[in-house]
Assembly symmetry: C2
Homo-oligomer: 377 residues x 2
């Protein structure tokens, strides 16, 4: 009888329209029907990513898309700047090293983001062929100023490779205008799909670099996907059901417009921060992302908080990772979550904090969220 609600930063809840579409009978991927569907889904995704660049879809998780980008596009004769401000930045450093690239790791204090000034300073040396950054670092709920970083990188020969897995479709992202050469995305976040698809948007500037490099892998060779996408196809077996769902999900997003989604996500994040602050929780990040909010537990509260929230109220939120384990909880604002869910969650959090012995005024934090969300619709 307990209703399940995902506030985890991926997977997120999938709309019934998408689930129902995905439950329809299988059909073959080497057919005009698949290609038409895939072309329409890709066109819709381009609208969301604000790009005319090629957008490639891999049957894989978001990590694979980022690995493909790093492996295929980072010039071998120059350094690659990799920002590491959390679990995902750390992963891109690992991948770049695994491919033997000349990695300059910018180690950031958790909760802070790569600064455009740092990028400028480094790139001014002329020693860098690419910059890899996480737009919204999910582990610390921190966003960088990708627009400003894009402006810096665009003036150079270097490529900007951005992990937009938890920002695409949720934070403002102007791929072409900001000069983001490679955008990596995943299906299970703001795109309201199950996990299983990685998206890679590739600029002409990036293709030039990619063409100059012998791809070190096969399945993750972006050139194979470029060749197929020109025929609205996939090089290997297309994920038929996921692409079916993708078509529905991108249509849902584009029907209300991505700007509206951006605005609404920001309001959910603002409401959560306001409510949580009123409950005595502290926003962890110094540059909070609007796609996910990281909150430090008040004194005396541990990760039992999340367990109780799930057991009693069916609400799943994420915990902290590495050093933040047991100290932090994370709440997603991506995708198919709305003010009614978020306001309800704030109430459940108040109850749970009170059960944990925190002195909260029941209803006070919720009322703050309600005020912020006044003009959501």
């Amino acid at each position: 009888m307990i209703k399940s609600r995902l506030f985890t930063p991926g997977p997120t809840d999938v709309p019934p329209e998408v689930l129902n579409e995905m439950a329809k009978p299988m059909f073959h991927h080497r057919t005009p029907r698949f290609r038409e569907m895939f072309a329409a889904a890709t066109a819709g995704l381009k609208q969301i990513l604000r790009t005319d660049n090629d957008v490639l879809t891999l049957a894989a998780s978001g990590t694979a898309g980022m690995e493909a980008a790093i492996a295929c596009a980072v010039p071998r004769d120059k350094k690659v700047l990799v920002a590491n401000g959390g679990k995902f930045g750390e992963r891109w450093v690992k991948i770049a090293k695994r491919y033997g690239l000349d990695v300059d790791e910018v180690a950031l204090e958790w909760g802070t983001a790569l600064q455009p000034e740092t990028v400028k300073e480094k790139l001014d040396t002329g020693a860098y062929g690419a910059v890899v950054t996480v737009h919204s670092e999910t582990s610390t709920a921190t966003a960088c100023d990708l627009e400003a970083i894009g402006k810096v990188v665009a003036k150079t020969d270097a490529l900007l490779i951005a992990d937009c897995i938890t920002s695409a479709g949720t934070l403002p992202l102007e791929t072409d205008k900001w000069g983001v050469d490679i955008v990596g995305g995943g299906s299970q976040k703001a795109l309201m799909l199950p996990p299983g698809l990685a998206f890679v948007a590739v600029s002409d500037k990036a293709w030039k670099q990619i063409d100059a490099i012998d791809a070190p892998g096969f399945y993750l060779d972006l050139k194979a996907y470029r060749k197929s996408i020109a025929k609205d196809d996939t090089p290997y077996t297309g994920a038929v059901s996921l692409v079916r769902g993708m078509k529905i999900a991108v249509d849902m997003i584009n029907a209300i417009g991505i700007e509206t989604v951006w605005k609404r996500t920001a309001m959910l994040a603002k409401a959560t921060r306001a409510a949580a602050t009123a409950m005595g929780m502290q926003v962890f990040s110094q540059q909070p992302s609007d796609s996910v909010t990281g909150l430090l537990y008040p004194a005396g509260v541990d990760d039992g908080f999340r367990k109780e929230l799930q057991t009693k109220y069916g609400a799943s939120i994420a915990g902290g990772q590495a050093d933040l384990k047991g100290k932090l909880c994370r709440i997603s604002h991506m995708g198919y979550v709305d003010p009614m869910d978020t306001i309800g969650l704030m109430a459940a959090m108040e109850y749970t904090l009170a059960d944990c012995g925190v002195d909260v005024t029941i209803g006070a934090g919720v009322a703050e969220a309600v005020k912020v969300l006044r003009d959501w619709a």
Copy 2:
């Protein structure tokens, strides 16, 4: 992108577990498999209805179950007392008259319920063979004291036939202990199923009357259902998918226990009344039902309120009927609805009232609901 939520007093939202079960492939109803499933579902329903009486399931809507009860069980040589305090009471009067019964209609002011004293006074004349009452009159969101009425009727030869369509599984209902001879129920309310099944619980006292009457119909002849249920079967084609869903739904309810459901429903109703009162809305009923709350719009607000609530927030609530059309809205607390939904709805109602020009303090009504629901889980 707008999430749909039903707060209508039937149909109500159906849990995904039930929908998924119902989406499974069809099988034949004249099989041991069907009979086993139907037996288990019926046993679960008996637990919910607190009865050892026969519980019959008709592939029909709740109205058909009540029609069958009235047509088959009301003695022809005596009067039948029918309480009419709303649209459903009115319907049972119509049906009783259609069958040529000697109807004594107790016309109640809308928002009031049949009083046990009235029943006693009437039955003391010895002229009545049956009493028909609505336990929870959905049109006016009003509940009668069925326990007290049951005590009065049990002392006589008359039968108590209760429309429990919006009370079974949501308001406390002790079929056997209270001496309710016939309970009529429907699938699309607290039982968390789609419309399509009617339930009729029949006491031995009622069967005696039924046996003494030539059934005027065929499909609605309760004797046919009694004969079949003895073999865990249905006389006509069983509604295979609905019964599949029924098994899951009753298991979900019995897993937490019907008393818990009763308690939780009452809390949702209390929270809604508290929040709505703080928003300047008035509870319509003088004997409010906890399964559905009827609220009068404040001055200057009309049924556009409901339309905006649905368009902007995806929340469906019901309007008023007959004289209450455009003056009243009704919010269900039955079935698969929880505090998070209800608290979210209160916020959406505050926004909508404010949009309608009502002077509400955004967050204040919601905070009242949050306080009431503190100990829900």
